[in-house]
């Protein structure tokens, strides 16, 4: 964990120094909400449609972060430097997943209120605790899968293409579960203030399964 913290701190410092990832993710999400606003030709949306718009937007914004996650390591020798150190290679997975998780949380702190402002019909307040729970579980899955996919894509020439092509299909179950869990929370009459347990369970299970899978294979992804 100590090594993971060292790598995470370095990643956060690099982001604070360059602002190459977070602003792009946030701006993408905001622009997408505006596009949906005009594209749907509706002043407000609610329920499953609102959940779908929010989830898809966050997913696509996350892909921007996924694509950039290992760029500094690849272009500036960070991989080699890390591999030369006597450390457990899976600490890189923990560090990068944590960085992406934090980026997603910051994205949502801006994007969710903006979504409520631009598009959401019902008030966000009552849904917020349940929505936070859903988004945290979704972020965990996104962070792990995103790190795994990014580690594969960064070794290819077409990494900007490979990331979404590999990542989006893998993330479909998480997308479905997130949207279905958030749907009732964003319904017009506030049908529920708690997300459906079944979809939360599926999200949690997805996180655990892919977390274990990533832990098992990540070491090999760093090999030549």
């Amino acid at each position: 964990m100590r090594t993971a913290m060292v790598v995470l701190r370095k990643d956060l410092r690099l982001e604070l120094r360059t602002w190459e990832t977070l602003p792009a993710m946030v701006l993408f999400a905001l622009v997408t909400f505006v596009i949906f606003h005009f594209g749907l030709n509706r002043a407000t949306i609610s329920g499953q449609l609102a959940a779908g718009v929010l989830t898809v937007t966050l997913l696509f914004a996350a892909m921007l972060g996924v694509n950039r996650l290992f760029v500094a390591e690849r272009e500036q020798g960070g991989f080699d430097a890390f591999l030369l150190a006597p450390v457990d290679r899976t600490t890189m997975l923990v560090a990068k997943s944590s960085a992406l998780f934090l980026f997603l949380c910051v994205l949502e702190v801006v994007a969710v209120p903006a979504f409520a402002l631009f598009l959401l019909g019902p008030s966000l307040g009552p849904a917020l605790p349940g929505l936070i729970l859903v988004l945290v579980l979704a972020n965990l899955g996104l962070a792990v899968i995103g790190t795994l996919v990014s580690a594969i894509a960064v070794h290819t020439r077409a990494r900007d293409l490979i990331g979404p092509l590999l990542g989006l299909p893998l993330l479909v179950p998480a997308l479905i579960a997130t949207a279905r869990a958030a749907g009732p929370l964003l319904a017009a009459a506030h049908a529920s203030s708690a997300p459906p347990g079944k979809w939360l369970l599926i999200l949690a299970l997805y996180d655990v399964v892919f977390g274990l899978l990533a832990y098992a294979v990540f070491d090999f992804l760093l090999e030549d």
Partner: protein
């Protein structure tokens, strides 16, 4: 009866590495005792950098055996990684971090005390520019920082790929105690200057198209052989 059973610092047997159809290295066999210097000579693309990356455990050999300090690679690479220092074509420094931040990051990865960062910065005379992002430094300064990074964790085996590239004579003299013979480390070095490399070496490995054409003492590798190798 006392027998010195210390394994060689480097032991290669029938080492081979391919990139697709292309042979990068083939049939490389040698042993280098601790504290000795191996000069690897050859034209561009001869396999010098590939050999260094295999020794650094960054590349897997496709055939043959590699052992460092008696530990076989890649199986026991975890054990020897902390004893290696690599100075390659890339400085392995983040351009948007300062020199000091980069070295502190490496010190933490290698679990080296942070005081050592000041020590190596002072040794390469980069203390005054250590607070600047690496992207703002000249190539010579970046190379000095790369030397500091390579020796930060007091490695026992230095893998030096053109170590004096981008360094003026004064800077080359400056890093000499860190990466030269005086460092006391076992060294593997490549150089575009074969005469200088031969002067430093205890053993020479000459490569041509990935195959060894000479392994032996530098005295046996005369000017004619140098001309032949680089012709």
């Amino acid at each position: 009866m006392s027998v010195d059973s210390a394994p060689p610092a480097i032991e290669l047997r029938g080492l081979a590495r391919y990139f697709g159809e292309r042979t990068a290295l083939r049939d490389v066999t040698l042993a280098l005792p601790e504290g000795a210097t191996l000069a690897v000579l050859g034209r561009n693309g001869a396999g010098k950098s590939t050999l260094l990356r295999i020794l650094a455990s960054l590349l897997r050999p496709h055939a043959g055996e590699v052992a460092l300090f008696g530990e076989p690679l890649p199986g026991r690479a975890f054990v020897v990684r902390g004893r290696l220092g690599l100075l390659g074509h890339e400085p392995l420094l983040y351009r948007d971090l300062t020199g000091r931040e980069n070295l502190q990051y490496h010190a933490r990865l290698h679990r080296v005390e942070l005081e050592r960062v000041d020590e190596v910065l002072s040794a390469v005379r980069m203390e005054r520019r250590a607070a600047e992002p690496v992207r703002l430094l000249s190539r010579g300064m970046v190379q000095r920082l790369a030397v500091a990074r390579a020796v930060l964790h007091r490695p026992q085996l230095l893998l030096l790929d053109e170590p004096r590239a981008n360094l003026d004579p004064a800077a080359a003299d400056l890093v000499e105690p860190l990466i030269g013979r005086a460092s006391g480390c076992t060294r593997v070095l490549t150089s575009h200057d074969p005469q200088a490399a031969l002067a430093e070496a205890d053993t020479v490995l000459a490569l041509k198209d990935g195959r060894p054409v000479f392994v032996g003492e530098p005295g046996q590798f005369g000017p004619d052989r140098v001309r032949e190798l680089y012709a």
